[in-house]
């Protein structure tokens, strides 16, 4: 199996931008239920800026792509998700370094670094009903897939499936971080928007790897 290169990273980000644009309304609706209703708008603003930035730039490694995504999200998204997701991409970029391609182990390192970055900045634990609840099962599943001999593409597929399940599993939770924590028990029954958008981005990463 060949490693995932710059083309994959660019395709991942373009797919993420597309799926965020497509789901903008739904993400904001989720945020309206337990937050302030801007999550779709925030991420869409950020990913549109990323796409615009990519037009003028030609990053030469997956790490360089992710670095550009990170700085652009940090300087355009705002809100809680801007610095948190931005940190995820920044730490992911650092883990990817300037390798031209990423194998399964490198993808696991990337995802782990990204998740650890979110946790370091946001201090959320699994079960706090945040994007960490998509990232952490994704990292765990990716690690297991790698241990089972999976290649980069299989690792990402496992991560995407686990992230989607993790996002869904936020529904019954009370929130302990972010705006949803203000609601106490009223947050129960609603999916966390940041977990959902994280799952969409990880699905985009997996689909980019298989060209689905």
């Amino acid at each position: 199996m060949e490693a995932l290169g710059t083309e994959w990273a660019l395709d991942w980000i373009r797919r993420s931008a597309a799926v965020i644009a497509e789901n903008k309304g739904e993400l904001s609706a989720l945020d309206r239920a337990i937050g302030d209703g801007d999550h779709g708008e925030n991420l869409d603003r950020g990913f549109r800026a990323v796409i615009a930035k990519l037009e003028g730039a030609s990053p030469e490694t997956p790490g360089a792509v992710l670095k550009l995504v990170a700085t652009t999200l940090i300087s355009t998204v705002g809100g809680a998700s801007g610095p948190l997701l931005g940190t995820a991409y920044l730490k992911g970029a650092q883990a990817a370094g300037d390798a031209p391609g990423l194998d399964g182990a490198a993808v696991v390192s990337l995802l782990t670094a990204a998740r650890d970055g979110v946790v370091a900045r946001g201090k959320a634990e699994p079960g706090d009903k945040t994007m960490v609840d998509a990232w952490t099962p994704a990292v765990d599943a990716a690690t297991r897939a790698l241990g089972g001999g999976g290649d980069a593409s299989a690792v990402l597929e496992a991560a995407a499936i686990a992230a989607a399940a993790g996002a869904e599993a936020t529904e019954p939770l009370i929130a302990h971080k972010g705006r949803a924590s203000y609601l106490g028990e009223r947050a129960i029954g609603h999916r966390d928007p940041g977990a959902q958008s994280s799952a969409l981005q990880l699905r985009a990463a997996a689909d980019a790897a298989t060209g689905a």
């Binding site: 209703g37 801007d38 705002g78 809100g79 809680a80 610095p83 971080k177 009223r186």
Partner: protein, 333 residues
């Protein structure tokens, strides 16, 4: 959705253009990145005060830029904290050599973005202190939440810290005053209707014709509880009791009573709320020494009100009374 706007996407820049046109002697409005500074910024030797956050809370923060209050305000998109870049630029623009105080409402997004900006400013050798405002007693302050929100008490922090900076306190001193205000201020709000965020076009939550949300925030977040409407005294008691018990405020305390409209509540109702709150304070022998009534920390077109009590001492009173000249709060000049 009917609003007096050009386009949901340009609400913030369009309002900033209007703000610049309305207050040319008072402020300069910078664009790309967007922030508002005092016309005479940076003031040499004075601690600079920067606040900011999502738009939609006007006059907070831009309306409080000027002599005796903020040196700069950084407006994010509607209800969305600004990114680090404009916060950094505003910080640089107001640094008069005595350092800069960031006044940040306690929301994850605001805290994180101001944190990054403060790091970047430090890297450019600007001394930055940060005060996080978290006056909202509707939210349990515990390890298991994002902590209390910063709501209307922010205005009091900005006014009083601004006066301290104007009289020449150093950065540590201004930060200490700001923290004292925050430590002595408690707020809680309710909503009769939900705001309509321009790019959403629909109310942030559904609420019946006879329902009230108690313990709301300023971003269209639903509150902690929904109750049936009742006359003002009952509603005000539901805000006052948690406020009074939290600090706690006790008899013979001197307070500033701040009745804040959420944007679409007529002033006549705010004064009725003031009357109801004043009655409760009278019963408890708490003395209203200062007052503020109006729409200062709003949530777009939400109908509702918040009540803030600030326990005063002589220094806080003197700083409150000190001259201020901003678009939304002005006296003594």
């Amino acid at each position: 959705m009917k609003k007096l706007i050009r386009d949901p996407q340009t609400v913030v820049p369009d309002a900033l253009a209007g703000f610049a046109a309305a207050h040319p002697g008072l402020v300069r409005v910078q664009t790309d990145p967007d922030y508002i500074v005092r016309a005479d910024a940076p003031v040499r030797g004075k601690v600079g005060l920067v606040s900011g956050g999502g738009s939609g809370h006007e006059p907070l923060h831009g309306g409080f830029v000027g002599y005796g209050m903020l040196d700069a305000a950084v407006p994010g998109p509607v209800f969305t904290s600004p990114t680090p870049d404009p916060i950094l630029e505003a910080t640089k623009a107001v640094d008069g050599g005595a350092g800069v105080l960031h006044i940040v409402k306690n929301y994850t997004g605001d805290v994180l973005n101001f944190e990054t900006a403060a790091d970047l400013a430090s890297a450019e050798d600007i001394q930055v202190e940060t005060v996080v405002v978290d006056d909202d007693v509707a939210v349990k302050d515990s390890l298991y939440t994002a902590g209390r929100r910063g709501v209307a008490g922010t205005v009091l922090v900005e006014k009083i810290a601004g006066a301290a900076a104007e009289r020449g306190d150093d950065l540590a001193g201004v930060a200490a005053i700001a923290r004292t205000v925050n430590a002595n201020a408690r707020s809680m709000g309710l909503a009769l209707t939900a705001p309509i965020v321009p790019h959403a076009g629909v109310p942030s939550f559904d609420i019946g014709d006879d329902e009230v949300e108690i313990g709301i925030g300023i971003h269209g977040e639903p509150g902690r509880a929904r109750i049936a409407w009742e006359p003002v005294d009952g509603l005000v008691a539901r805000l006052m009791e948690p406020i009074l018990e939290d600090l706690p405020f006790t008899s013979s305390d001197d307070v500033l009573l701040f009745v804040n409209g959420m944007g679409a509540t007529p002033l006549v109702e705010l004064y009725i709320v003031f009357d109801a709150a004043a009655s409760i304070l009278r019963e408890r022998s708490i003395q209203i020494s200062r007052s503020l009534v109006g729409n200062f920390v709003t949530s777009l077109d939400m109908q509702g009100v918040s009540i803030t009590l600030l326990r005063l001492d002589d220094e806080l009173k003197a700083l409150w009374d000190a001259p201020v000249e901003t678009a939304a709060l002005r006296w003594g000049r």
